[in-house]
Symmetry: C2
Subunit: 436 residues, 2 copies
């Protein structure tokens, strides 16, 4: 029989066990953060009706969707967790209580072109709070705070959550009488990707009015400390209701992010953040790692007015953020920023000598009852090979069981890192837990 080359499709991530343990540890710490902050898990099918997934209509997304070819039903793989959330909340509206605090950590699928660090299958870690008709602005401070705690839990230092409010910009557009907002929003969103002079000339061209240009430029280049930015914005005395609401929301969110426990250095009011053409209507967030801003935003989101308008007449406003975990793992490992001590899959390897297998079984059970991840090396092999196995598998302790150990009811415990060996009586086995 001809062999088939064992390989996976390009653009998919697959890890070796040592890296997988680190990845899973990161994922579990993020989940634990969400759960510790009173969010509930939901899980939705990976395959959904295409009409549900593409309710919002075409664009880039529909080209990237993986369609399923089976019994001529219109099915596809979800490309994010927000559309399934909208469908879930609309479908189960009468069985849910609001505010609905849900997290969802799962894989999504996008048939993008191959590109380094972009994956076609990737984990998203989403948290959202959905209100029924209304949702208080304080939730808009809690969401970024929880993401800040998630990054703290996975030992990523220097996270700065950039915040802005869309109403500020649209209010200011109205105030200045600017009509072609979409083009200008798009331009502002791309500001950091081009030379500042290039940006200025494009903005001037787009606005075709030197007064408007000057005032908009002055506005979006407002900088300083967070307090200074807020003061300058208040000082503009813009007579537009939307602007005033946006400024008040931004101020409240900033204040409450600190009350939740974030320090000022982890928050940056950034008036360029617009989240492009997304469906956000109020607060918007992007997050960067200090000194690694070039890696792009590692956690983004915002406030939306009406989550599920394609599926229900209920008005369901919400606020949420998402971590693209597969990409985050890739960029953190590329940048050498992974600082996770994962628990070894096996902490103690028992090597039974001839005739010591039954005795070793009792020892194995005792070790496992004491919470020590243990296994017996059952195979027949040379001692050198067995030690090399323990070494390569990063098993920290090895216990050889021979006649002497059985007679004295002891185990000879060898620390694989230091080479130190000591005899421990069976009564003291629980103390091994502290050594690991």
């Amino acid at each position: 029989m001809d062999l088939i080359k064992a390989s996976i499709l390009p653009g998919f991530m697959e890890l070796l066990p040592d890296d997988q343990i680190v990845f899973n540890t990161i994922k579990n710490k993020i989940i634990k953060t969400f759960e510790d902050h009173a969010f509930k898990a939901i899980e939705t099918p990976v395959i959904e009706k295409k009409e549900i997934l593409l309710a919002k209509g075409g664009g880039e997304t529909s080209k990237q969707v993986y369609s399923i070819d089976h019994e001529s039903r219109d099915m596809a793989l979800r490309f994010d967790l927000t559309v399934p959330l909208a469908r879930y909340v609309a479908q189960h509206y009468h069985e849910l209580d609001f505010p609905f605090r849900r997290y969802h950590v799962s894989k999504v699928y996008r048939g993008e072109r191959n590109q380094k660090g972009r994956y076609k299958e990737f984990y998203q870690c989403d948290i959202d709070i959905i209100g029924d008709k209304e949702l208080n602005i304080h939730n808009d401070a809690e969401i970024p705070y929880i993401m800040y705690k998630a990054f703290e839990a996975i030992n990523v230092e220097g996270l700065v959550i950039n915040i802005n409010n869309r109403k500020l910009l649209t209010g200011y557009f109205n105030y200045l009488g600017i009509d072609n907002r979409v083009d200008i929003l798009r331009l502002i969103d791309k500001k950091d990707k081009m030379d500042i002079d290039k940006f200025k000339s494009l903005l001037e061209e787009e606005l075709a009015d030197s007064n408007k240009y000057e005032r908009l430029l002055e506005f979006i280049t407002i900088d300083g400390s967070n307090e200074e930015i807020l003061d300058k914005l208040k000082g503009l005395k813009v007579d537009n209701e939307e602007f005033v609401i946006g400024l008040d929301e931004l101020d409240t969110v900033y204040t409450y992010m600190k009350l939740f426990g974030m320090d000022d250095e982890s928050i940056k009011i950034n008036l360029y953040i617009t989240r492009g053409l997304d469906y956000y209507t109020g607060m918007v967030y992007e997050s960067f790692i200090k000194g690694h801003e070039n890696l792009g935003s590692v956690c983004s989101g915002g406030r939306y007015d009406d989550l599920a308008s394609n599926y229900t007449k209920q008005k369901l406003p919400g606020v949420g953020m998402s971590i693209g975990l597969t990409r985050l793992y890739f960029i953190l490992s590329q940048a050498g920023l992974i600082d996770i001590k994962a628990r070894p899959y096996c902490e103690l390897l028992i090597i039974p000598m001839e005739g010591a297998l039954e005795y070793s079984m009792g020892l194995l059970n005792q070790l496992r009852s004491s919470g020590i991840r243990s296994q017996i090396y059952f195979e027949k092999n040379k001692m050198g090979k067995i030690f090399s196995y323990a070494d390569k598998e990063n098993i920290p302790y090895v216990a050889i069981i021979g006649e002497e150990e059985m007679k004295e009811n002891k185990i000879s415990l060898k620390n694989m890192k230091t080479g130190h060996q000591e005899a421990i009586s069976r009564d003291e086995i629980k103390t091994i837990r502290e050594k690991i």
Copy 2:
């Protein structure tokens, strides 16, 4: 805009949050059992090359495979976790150490026809131990023992793991000179699904030799205690090497399952268990819940000689078992056998009165630092509605914060189940953890 009805495809499971918490608790306890017994997680892409997935060739499986229709690549969704394991081990052979103890808990996809309790997307919980060229028989005792521990961890009582060894049956076939083994294996596998007289007459017809029929029937109806069955099998004095090896393996596995810590009532040597036409070559396992045998096997598997022969010339024998978790959850809940105390997603709801929000923020942070899953009710609502929210969300404690609480630096803690209310000083907050 026309609304699209929010719904999922038939044959997919989606749970409401309360049930999801129970499901996740079960899944996490199974994973913890695997990890406590020194198994490592792997994760493989859900989408793989079709030639990899269907390497073993057609049959029922290929009809059930979900193909992906995207940029004319031959891709499909995995239908089990064993084929991806084989591909993974073949692909990464030089980077892995053997014996390779891996677990994999993830979703697989089968486009089966709609049927109650059968899902098109379902979780499998697999453990396998893969050897390089050889794998000791003691592993065949550890795998069912760990599954036994997994069921213990999720409080399912009365699990009986039925064990057999294929070599016994094929050895006995050889010994009797029976040629049409496939048909007879298939028949024996279906024995429990038909009337015993019907089975006997079909078996007699198939064998067309009354001596062979009598002796095979005598063999497969051997019953009694496990020890008695082993004694009877030894007493047959079958002069066939395969039979002798099979009997010795069965005896060893039975003995070691007990040495690992299983009681005799949880093991049943069952000579009908053949696992039909699967690729197993030695030990085979099926598991039933006492008194609920009609639910079918809840955990099955066996020993295979050569895992990855489609992808590599390396001989990789292994032994493994699998729980179909989605189906298990369904049948346990239908049979009222779920006995899981899931931790509430939120343990304490803070209700701030007018002017108490900032004070409540400090309290929230203190509660969360003490490991109590807490949230503030930020929305403006009537007290009755808020209490009804806490009730429906199964939040066990509510703390109302008003002027008095702020003045005395206390919280009024109300037990939502008993209605009991008590004042607790801020210094004693850690004690709440014990109440929950």
